[in-house]
């Protein structure tokens, strides 16, 4: 008999149609191809279309629709986007020399990624760098820069794929890979083994070695020990290769991984708290107040806006991390079990994921429901040449939600994120100490920091915003 799960989970692979679909070799390619074609269109419109972000398909589709929407998918289906991401796909196609077929040999040098870099530090630096570059050079406003950016990512994916084994780029270098992984821990779906004993008894380990039916896990995961969503992209190779039919894709309660997993790391913990700062920062720079502060600082310092922005960027984004470090120390002092700082810092950090995630979602509500609707006229004229392909180019568009409704949804999300964070933090505190009173004392300062972050986020959302896209 298999072990009993600590939470209710239903396996969607019990539906034979879904199982047949996911075990078909062309399953992933069928999802990648349409996205690949759309990204080609995005590159073409970016390079050759009107160079005004608000009227060009590349900028609106990439930054207003795609980037805003996929954050919502992480909430429910984890890294499902990575399954169909055309940027990672091209690297993999070139590496394998095949679009979907199983080939024994590939074109890569198959070098292993350096052990010291097998973490999220590089990806986190890329994420911060891209955010900074965006604000200085106006990446999200420029169709041409957007096209160059996508070309750059695809090129990197191909080059890394030809040198290093499997999906090294997606696992260790993709700028949003770490963010997606952490948000996916919140998701209400998971890919897991059904019975640990079956895996233990099976010597073949086809899931990590591959067989004639499929490749070894491209994301370097070992399904037998998989207890969180961070790096699984549902490519279904393990479902294809498992001779014991021991893989399940479960629907489950939200946020389970954040406190159930035994695998917790410093790089992920740091990113979890950085995301609280980054999502708040991305929202505050869109407010009218930010414009006024920037004006005052530039006038007082006689520095230009980009210099001021660059100087302020890291301190503001990393401020929550600094505060959290101090609070972790306070937490240890209040708890008498003499836990070490790194342990407390790493464990509780995962409780901040819902705060960053819900602020990110709240931020994107504006992009999707206020700006996103502009995609309808743009679809008729993707290059901005004055076309009217579908008769919608001059359509009068009514926004989907009013400002007040959007603000209520945003704030509700932040409040829900806060309460989820408290629940996760509470569960983590119990897992860290056998003495319940000590666990409560250790959690109290963390709770106060969570309240602070939640109120700051609500305050930011209450300030009138100027759109930048």
């Amino acid at each position: 008999m298999g072990e009993e799960k600590e939470y209710t989970a239903g396996d969607i692979l019990k539906v034979s149609f879904i199982k047949r679909l996911m075990t078909h070799r062309a399953f992933q390619f069928a999802l990648q191809l349409p996205n690949f074609l759309v990204f080609i269109l995005v590159i073409l419109t970016g390079l050759f279309g009107i160079q005004y972000g608000g009227s060009n398909l590349s900028t609106v589709l990439t930054w207003v629709i795609w980037w805003a929407f996929i954050i919502f998918t992480f909430l429910f289906v984890g890294r499902l986007w990575c399954l169909m991401c055309p940027m990672g796909a091209v690297g993999e196609w070139v590496q394998r020399g095949s679009l979907w077929g199983r080939k024994k040999k590939n074109l890569s040098l198959n070098i292993q990624w350096p052990r010291r870099l097998r973490n999220l530090w590089v990806a986190t630096i890329f994420l911060l760098l891209i955010t900074l570059v965006d604000h200085i050079f106006g990446l999200v406003k420029s169709p041409m820069y957007t096209a160059y950016f996508i070309i750059l990512i695809i090129t990197a994916s191909i080059v890394i794929g030809l040198i290093f084994e499997r999906r090294t780029f997606c696992r260790y270098l993709c700028p949003i890979g770490g963010l997606i992984g952490l948000y996916s821990m919140f998701a209400s779906t998971e890919l897991r083994i059904k019975d640990k004993e079956v895996c233990k008894a099976h010597q073949g380990k086809d899931c990590i070695r591959g067989n004639e039916r499929g490749y070894p896990c491209p994301m370097f995961e070992f399904p037998q020990t998989l207890d969180r969503n961070n790096y699984c992209n549902y490519c279904a190779e393990c479902i294809k290769t498992c001779p014991k039919n021991n893989i399940a894709v479960n629907i489950r309660p939200f946020s389970i991984d954040l406190f159930k997993t035994k695998k917790k790391y410093l790089d992920e913990a740091a990113l979890a708290v950085i995301l609280v700062g980054l999502t708040a920062f991305q929202s505050i720079i869109m407010t009218t107040s930010w414009e006024n502060w920037m004006k005052a600082i530039t006038a007082a310092t006689h520095m230009n806006e980009n210099t001021v922005f660059s100087v302020l960027f890291l301190p503001i984004v990393l401020l929550p991390l600094g505060l959290y470090l101090i609070i972790s120390k306070v937490s240890i002092n209040l708890n008498e079990n003499k836990d070490n700082l790194k342990n407390v810092f790493v464990h509780y950090a995962y409780a901040f994921v819902p705060i960053g995630l819900t602020m990110h979602l709240a931020h994107n509500i504006f992009h999707l429901f206020a700006e996103g609707i502009s995609i309808i006229p743009i679809l008729s004229d993707p290059f901005g040449y004055g076309w009217n392909l579908f008769g919608t180019a001059n359509l009068n568009i009514v926004p989907l939600l009013t400002l007040e409704s959007m603000r209520m949804i945003q704030m509700s999300l932040v409040v829900l994120g806060y309460f989820t964070a408290v629940y996760v933090g509470y569960k983590i505190s119990l897992s860290m100490s056998s003495d319940k009173n000590a666990a409560f004392r250790s959690f109290l300062p963390i709770l106060l920091l969570m309240i602070t972050f939640a109120i700051i986020n609500l305050w930011i959302l209450d300030i009138p915003m100027l759109h930048r896209h």
Partner: protein
Amino acid sequence: MKDKTIALILIIILAIVAIVIGATSYADQYGYYSQQGYGSMMGGMGGMRGNMMGSGMSGGMMDPGMIGGGYSKDSFSSNGERIYYAGIDSTGRRIGFEGGPMWLYMHGGSCVDCHGTNGKGGVPVMMGTAIPADLTNLFTTHSHGDEKMVMVSYTDDFLKRAITKGINANGESLDPTMPRWYMPEKDLNDLITYLKTLQTEDHQSLEENNATEGHTHSGNNYEENVHDSQTNAPNGEPSKTFLAAVSSVILGSFFLVQYLKSRM
């Protein structure tokens, strides 16, 4: 069992939030929020929905009493007038812009929404951080605002720069409330031709009078309306939603701590 209890509490909170959102969205649809928060500067949310974008968009954007009444116009005597009223160019396309207040992105709009049908401006705009300028005295050197700052006369080139790059005749950057418009040369010329029709014949003598009386051109208009702006307080004061959300975080935390303490 413990997990199930907490999960149940979270589900109840979620259900309450969903009901509140549903109820407010329904209320929004019928304009019940017309006098609250940002809505106070508008002619009501219900009115706003009807005329968001396109040539008729300016009809419902703001309270008709704010700047010269409603802006609905079915026909235009020139391309410049169409741009000024509707933000639509001669090919019927919406003119692009950057910056500006958020409602401009959401609901559309053009020059008239801030500067008014007579071009006098002077009325604080929703979510704006500056008072819209008076466009009826562009071609004379005049004092500007309460600070008695001297604004040099615009030339056509200076005006094009102000519209597209947001730099005024003195070479200073305009407030981000003024959008930076992406407009082809022909449309710019047409708009400037229209702006010239808004210039008051007696602005020079009016300027002199204002200087001696200690006013600026838009002074009366500004003072009349600043009161409305303060009473409605579109910026600066926390919204009811914010206060409700913060209360739920603080009160919820209090009860949650009590609950967790009892479980531990």
